[in-house]
């Protein structure tokens, strides 16, 4: 066990866990931030996607000991009122079905748009290919990403 001081969604948080604990479980079990989802645990599905310093990262494969001072953003901290342009575009296109994968999708999409404000179809595919949606909402996700890109 060791103590870690994490910067999560703009707040300082202290947790006492073993160093190998993936950030996913620190968020879900210890900080009650359950918006970040568990899907596979092996960086294959993207359900656990969060931002480290604004970059999309699979939190199921990131040991808490590797995070250090870096800023963590989860779906709960993406915007104050759920009004990030990507979140708004998601609502506009009524993307979710079951909704389980969508936090991860949104975190991947926001990271993509922050680095590439006007991605092509192929760039969207590349950035989003790590996020599985079992309900098959891909065509809507793509449309929503384009809407969000144009709204900026």
């Amino acid at each position: 066990m060791a103590t870690y001081n994490l910067k999560v969604n703009g707040k300082d948080q202290q947790v006492d866990v073993s160093p190998s604990t993936p950030l996913l479980w620190v968020l879900r079990d210890h900080l009650q931030l359950v918006g970040t989802k568990f899907g596979c645990g092996i960086a294959q599905c993207g359900a656990c996607t969060i931002h480290i310093e604004g970059i999309a990262v699979r939190s199921c494969q990131l040991p808490v000991s590797a995070v250090g001072e870096q800023k963590i953003t989860t779906i709960e901290g993406l915007s104050e009122n759920g009004d990030h342009p990507v979140q708004k575009a998601w609502i506009e296109h009524d993307v979710p079905q079951c909704g389980y994968c969508q936090a991860g999708q949104i975190m991947s999409a926001t990271s993509l748009l922050s680095q590439n404000p006007n991605p092509s179809d192929i760039e969207i595919d590349q950035a989003m290919n790590g996020n599985i949606c079992r309900c098959g909402t891909y065509t809507r996700i793509k449309k929503a990403i384009k809407t969000a890109a144009n709204s900026k």
Binding site: S18, T21, G39, A103, N131, T139
Partner: protein, 751 residues
């Protein structure tokens, strides 16, 4: 205008009362209400008592907000949005003022609380309309009384009542308390279809904001004071069971509370259809946090042994039957050989028209093709999980479950608690596709909690989930068509079976359209467990049948669409046999619509595949266009035409249709679970390939046939036919027919 009764026989299934703080509460029986149009007087008398229990209600608060208390669980089919739309339309209230409260499950009250088979809207349609119309009628009557004017001079619009002659108006909220004490009208008038204002429009998912902001809503998100985390270890292979285990090391690890064996179902317990439990003996690891439990789980040393053949009791709706589970460690390769053998033997004849034997004997030409498909795992994105808090007096559960009524009896028996002491709270489901109809996880969580005397949340890893079973079965079907010397189709033969069930629907198209017809089934028992999977059985047989019809059309020198339309014309004008499970006109309707929308006649240069199917009361036709790029099929466009009666929420229905199409394309190309010595070989998404964004179609168009039929399912019917649209398009692109799913050879699968 249609008039409906609010009574069944002499019994009313509505009751009205004044809300404590002012307002109106109209309680009703969901099930009795759903049954009205389907029941004859005699059948009504036999309806079970509990159907008259008032298990649903609408409340109209004095602020005008309407609350619908709805017994259907949500797993992405959007009933929480479509149901209030139906109610709001009949009630004439702004649908934004209707909110849905999820009813939790209490035994007796929702004996048929079940979202499955795309039926929830179909069932809810009548009762929600009747409830809306009844409440509106009472509000109108109350306003008329209040103003001392004739009832027929009062009109309602968007939550306000008007008396135009005297220029008076009053809101629903203001008059609700007076409305509550009006007698329940025995009959009410429903709106004409053309007068719908909300039904048929597009309304956004009411849970949208909560989803995009990451609010807790799934079973796996549940937290409770003092809650422990539990995981299970199940045998690594079907046909294996626990011999012994050593948990010394695991128990000593940080955060671990206990490691022990659980028995979920006693061997003499008579199970029901939804008690599908692959392994009744499990090891559980319980600890403080998920990660600690995951680590300890790896350190439990387990010896497995082969399970002997055995039987268990099944309560098949009152009849006790013994279900035999064979011993042995099964492998996919052996499965395939066995299925091919069985497919050569005569099967059980399920339908015979004319003299197929003679027709085949006299045929000038015979086309024979065999199709097969592997087992599929549901792979819902949310892994199996359940929260349970069981004490000596009561049990509380929270988790993803489609049909709580099917598991409550088993829970009661196993926990030795009366049903009334068990409460199942329904979580939003992170995907269903049939999996959540099975409640083994609820039993497991409850037993662990009971042993631990503590609240626990049980979570499966993806590997536990993917290797647990309850798969879509593996199937094989052989189709044969006979042609005479003029190349006319004279006989049709389908023989289909699977492990462990046959996918055959003997009375579906093209039965009824061909004079000489034979349908045979067979099945091979197995110890691999299976369960409902998005459009059970149809999800294979549609693809096989529609691929064969495509090849047959080519053999006959006909356009694939014209060929189907000719058969349907025959089935309409001069049907063979009486028991044909489809309406040829509606079937042809979707085919013509997709032909038109895809501009079929002017796109023969494209690699496009056509397919059509009817299941779950909905007709679907699809056209899929693809190109081969870097050896991979890339789907450009999919056009779908759907006849699911009246569409409630258009954009949401399209979303479901798109999802089913994407799911089907993915499974046709990549989906399979394979076995070696009983052990599932694909345990996570590195090997079990699911469709990803770059492989999804560039565009999907879903078009609806406009008609006035009652609404039918959307969650399932677009899934089965797409397998053939894909196969037929692949043929046009590559010149090769695809008979074996998945269509992309294994060697090309990338991790």
């Amino acid at each position: 205008m249609a008039t409906v009764k609010t009574t069944l026989g002499r019994r009313s299934f509505f009751k009205s009362s004044v809300l404590a703080g002012g307002g109106m509460m109209l309680s009703f029986s969901w099930f009795a209400g759903c049954e009205i149009p389907n029941r004859k007087e005699a059948a009504i008398i036999e309806m079970p008592e509990e159907w008259f229990e008032l298990n649903s209600y609408i409340k109209i608060g004095d602020n005008g907000v309407v609350t619908l208390f709805n017994p259907n669980p949500e797993f992405g089919q959007n009933v929480k949005t479509s149901m209030p739309m139906i109610l709001a339309d009949e009630l004439d209230v702004d649908w934004k003022n209707v909110i849905v409260e999820q009813a939790n499950f209490y035994p007796k009250r929702y004996d048929r609380q079940f979202t499955g088979g795309s039926q929830s809207i179909r069932q809810g349609w009548n009762i929600l309309r009747t409830a809306g119309a009844t409440a509106k009628r009472m509000l109108v009557t109350a306003a008329a009384q209040h103003w001392q004017v004739p009832v027929n001079e009062v009109t309602a619009k968007a939550g306000i009542l008007y008396h135009t002659a005297t220029n008076k108006e009053i809101t629903y909220g203001e008059i609700a308390s007076l409305a509550a004490i009006q007698p329940i009208p025995e009959e009410v008038e429903l709106k004409e279809i053309k007068d719908f204002k909300i039904i048929g429009t597009s309304k956004k998912n009411v849970a949208g904001t909560a989803i995009v902001t990451g609010k807790p809503m799934f079973g796996i998100d549940y937290q409770a004071e003092g809650m422990l985390i539990a995981m299970i270890i199940h045998p690594p292979a079907f046909g294996m069971k626990l011999k012994k285990f050593d948990a010394t090391k695991a128990k000593s690890m940080p955060g671990i509370k206990d490691v022990f064996k659980i028995d979920t179902l006693k061997s003499d317990y008579a199970r029901n259809y939804f008690d599908t439990t692959t392994f009744t003996e499990l090891i559980t690891v319980v600890g403080n946090s998920t990660w600690e439990v995951m680590q300890a789980k790896k350190e439990v040393v387990v010896d497995w042994e082969q399970a002997p053949e055995h039987t268990f009791q099944m309560d098949a709706r009152g009849d006790k039957i013994a279900v035999h589970v064979p011993a042995g460690l099964e492998s996919t390769i052996v499965h395939q050989t066995k299925m091919n053998q069985f497919n050569k033997n005569p099967g059980r004849i399920l339908r015979i028209d004319g003299d197929p034997e003679k027709a085949f004997k006299n045929a000038a030409k015979i086309l024979e093709r065999t199709y097969s498909a592997p087992f599929l795992a549901h792979n819902t994105m949310e892994p199996v999980n359940c929260f349970a808090n069981v004490s000596a007096e009561k049990a509380e559960l929270y988790g993803p479950i489609q049909a709580p009524e099917f598991i409550i009896g088993t829970l009661s028996e196993r926990l030795k608690l009366p049903k009334e002491k068990i409460q199942i709270n329904l979580a939003r489901m992170g995907g269903g596709f049939g999996l959540r109809a099975y409640g083994h996880h609820m039993i497991e969580a409850a037993v662990i909690s009971q042993e631990m005397k503590a609240p626990i949340k049980m979570v499966y890893t993806r590997e536990d989930d993917m290797s647990y079973g309850i798969y879509r079965p593996s199937y094989t079907a052989t189709y044969k068509a006979a042609m005479d010397e003029n190349n006319n189709l004279i006989a049709f033969h389908v023989k289909a079976g699977g492990i462990p069930e046959s996918p055959l629907f003997p009375n579906r198209f093209p039965a009824g359209a061909i004079d000489n017809y034979l349908a045979e089934a067979w099945e091979i028992p197995s110890n691999i467990t299976i369960g409902a999977f998005r459009a059970p059985r149809s999800n294979f047989i549609a693809g096989a049948e529609q691929s064969f019809l495509d090849e047959l059309a080519e053999e006959l020198g006909k356009d694939p669409i014209e060929f189907r339309l000719d058969l349907l014309e025959r089935a309409k004008n001069n049907p063979v046999g009486e028991n044909n499970d489809y309406d040829p006109e509606r079937y042809a309707g979707v085919i013509k619509l997709v032909k038109d929308k895809s501009d079929w006649d002017n796109n023969s240069d494209k690699s496009r595949g056509f397919s059509a199917y009817f299941c779950h009361n909905t007709y679907v036709a699809q056209v899929l266009d693809l190109e081969i790029k870097n050896d991979k099929p890339m789907v450009d466009n999919v056009y779908a035409a759907v006849d699911c009666g009246i569409v409630i929420n258009k954009d949401a229905a399209k979303n479901m249709g798109e999802g089913a199409i994407v799911d089907g394309i993915g499974n046709s190309l990549y989906g399979e679970q394979v076995f070696k010595d009983g052990a599932p070989q694909k345990l996570n998404f590195d090997r079990y390939q699911l469709i990803r964004m770059s492989e999804a179609p560039k565009s999907i168009e879903v078009h609806f046939v406009e008609n006035e039929h009652n609404p039918t399912g959307m969650g399932e019917p677009l899934f089965p036919p797409i397998f053939a649209a894909m196969a037929n398009a692949l043929y046009r692109a590559t010149g090769q027919r695809h008979y074996q799913q998945p269509f992309i050879p294994k060697k090309k699968i990338i991790g």
